[in-house]
């Protein structure tokens, strides 16, 4: 189990530490989200290579209303 | 010779706007909030002539708004009358039988001292087209020397390459004056019988190269009388707008040289009388309110007096169009054109003051400025 911070909240991760595993835990759709890990944007093409570590901070973002 | 004008220059689409113009259109153009080609064409048309007083009033109001009640003064110095060119209208064409001279460094220094003593702070240095007798390498030291005496150093010489303009900017050249003479490519070809000036596009693009090279101002103009003035003036406007948009940190100024009799007798096909020249100047002030408009001593005193501050914001004074001529030691005789207004600086400034205008020789100090920024 990895203790992560996701969108500012503590999040216990029970998967394999990959972004796809994390996203399915959050209920987010990979196609409709963008991700930052520890303050750096991770391009979708690079997602497969990510292995999350203890205390990593992840931001999961989507398109929302705004001018 | 089939030259296709670049789209940014071609006045063709607006030529018809100068035809069948109504009085209402003229009045609207005079007062337009955002005038452009169409308004200029209307104001250049014969229909605008009866409204010349209204045009003058507006031109004066706009001149005052952008230039206050000041007139910038400058004087020309011909460095050399050597020219390989064959321009049909020019007193220095290579088939004119007169002696040619160039100033020596000593001569030039004497001339510049004399001009500076008159109060001049903007010098315009002139030469003919490129010739082994007067090349870029000959010009550069004169620019450097002029920068010692004058804050504004303008050149009206042969078109050069960007790297040459840059070198001149680095030694103190601030401005370029280059008249296309006529923007009508076919007529241009006829008038420029031989010589480097025959290359129309090279000349058109020279101000671009000069501003890209770091000069801070480009002065444009067309020689009125050579071609249809409506065509030439619309193209002149477009040329100015192109430079304003592309070199947005540089200034653009315009002059309105008109063919006058000179040593040589060239009869213009398109006569521009005094009233029409005034109309042209007022029209430009209305459509380009913030651009300096200059009038030289080619024009007579009464005309210059009438236009000072009414459209015109810049004037040459006490000019000599012989090589040198400001100091008694250089007494060459060949001149490019005749001077009609021979008043000295004192007399000319007295006239300006009597009209409530302040002569300005010096606009700013160059000491804190960087070298060329581009």
């Amino acid at each position: 189990m990895l203790q992560l911070k996701v969108n500012g909240e503590p999040h216990p991760h029970h998967g394999d530490g990959s972004l796809s595993a994390l996203l399915s835990e959050t209920g987010a759709h990979p196609e409709r989200t963008a991700v930052m890990v520890n303050g750096r944007v991770v391009k979708k093409v690079d997602w497969a290579g990510v292995r999350l570590q203890e205390n990593d901070q992840v931001e999961v973002l989507m398109f929302a209303a705004g001018g | 010779m089939n030259i296709v004008l670049p789209e940014w220059l071609d006045p063709e689409p607006w030529l018809s706007c100068a035809q069948e113009v109504t009085e209402a259109q003229v009045l609207q153009a005079i007062n337009a909030v955002a005038p452009a080609e169409r308004e200029l064409a209307v104001l250049l048309s014969p229909a605008a002539r009866p409204h010349i007083e209204a045009m003058a009033q507006r031109a004066q109001a706009l001149t005052r708004r952008h230039f206050g009640r000041t007139i910038s003064l400058y004087a020309p110095l011909y460095l050399s009358s050597h020219c390989p060119g064959g321009c049909a209208y020019c007193g220095f064409a290579s088939d004119r039988k007169n002696e040619r001279h160039s100033l020596s460094a000593e001569d030039a220094r004497r001339e510049m001292k004399a001009m500076a003593a008159m109060g001049i702070d903007e010098i315009l240095m002139l030469t003919g087209e490129r010739t082994p007798k007067f090349e870029f390498v000959d010009l550069k030291p004169f620019v450097q020397m002029a920068a010692e005496y004058f804050d504004l150093v303008a050149i009206e010489v042969f078109p050069m390459e960007e790297h040459e303009y840059r070198q001149l900017a680095e030694v103190g050249c601030t401005s370029l004056t280059l008249y296309q003479e006529t923007y009508d490519a076919q007529r241009y070809d006829i008038f420029h019988r031989w010589g480097p000036k025959k290359n129309y596009m090279n000349r058109i693009l020279a101000p671009d190269r000069a501003l890209a090279g770091g000069l801070r101002n480009a002065g444009l103009g067309a020689l009125l009388g050579l071609s249809d003035p409506v065509y030439d003036m619309l193209a002149l406007y477009r040329h100015a707008r192109h430079l304003q948009k592309t070199y947005w940190k540089a200034g653009v100024s315009l002059s309105f040289p008109r063919i006058q009799p000179q040593v040589g007798d060239f009869n213009p096909d398109f006569l521009v009388d005094d009233a029409y020249l005034a109309q042209i100047i007022f029209a430009f002030r209305i459509v380009l309110p913030e651009v300096a408009l200059a009038l030289s001593t080619r024009e007579n005193a009464a005309f210059r007096d009438g236009l000072a501050g009414v459209g015109i914001s810049k004037m040459s004074v006490a000019s000599k169009t012989t090589v040198g001529g400001y100091s008694p030691e250089t007494g060459y005789e060949e001149s490019q054109f005749e001077i009609s207004d021979g008043r000295d600086v004192e007399a000319f400034c007295a006239m300006l003051r009597s009209k409530g205008l302040e002569p300005v020789f010096k606009n700013w100090d160059a000491t804190y400025r960087d070298e060329a920024q581009y």
């Binding site: 759709h29 963008a34 930052m36 989507m62 | 409204h51 005094d274």
Partner: protein, 261 residues
Amino acid sequence: MSEMLKIKDEILGSRLFTGTGKFSNTETMIRAIKASGSELVTVALRRFHKDQAADDLFGPLSELENLRIMPNTSGAMNAREAVNAALLGRELSGSALVKLEIHPNPHHLLPDAIETFEAAKILVKEGFLVMPYIPADPVLAKRLEDIGCASVMPLGSPIGTGQGVEAREMIRLIVRDAGIPVVVDAGIRAPSDAAAAMEMGVDAVLVNSAIAAAENPEAMAMAFAMGVEAGRAAYEAGLMAQSRHAVQTSPLTSFLSGGAK
């Protein structure tokens, strides 16, 4: 039908851009955008939350045809944050369009020109089509053009104030010398404001609050579409100049033979 709008290689048939903020609900927003005929819509980025999955606009917007999604960097307080927001936005949209918006003050929401310029430099290098939201400053506009921005977006008046095109004279100067499209953003309250901007020669307008806050956003969106078209058509047709009263003083042209009238 007026000429198409070109932003670098993007060709747009509508000169009305719309925003997605301040609508009462997503369905209303989608209907309004559809009614507007807009082909470019701005969206913000927000944290995903399972309980607010319905707020995700990705799905609803993808149902609209011929629509480019332009993420904005709203919320960013400085260049670094804006760059991150742009990178995130591109991951979601798959397009290079970004509305660069940095407004550190939460009250007037006016743009920070300095941070915007810094961010624009970086984003242009990263291959974005940068559309910076800026104060109506003609010099700033040229500097952003010089560094490669795809357009400039000067504000008409502060966001949400609906004061119309207050910065009229400055915007005229921007339009006059611009070599890239000029899009007036912010402050447009009525279709007449949009038309007025288009008549000045502005290339497009972005309208958000005025549509979202209308009694009937869908109808208002249509009205705006008509206003933008009318303004543009008028501009292309060549507007009659305004008249002013001439001032009577003594004649200036009596020195010309037979000149004065």
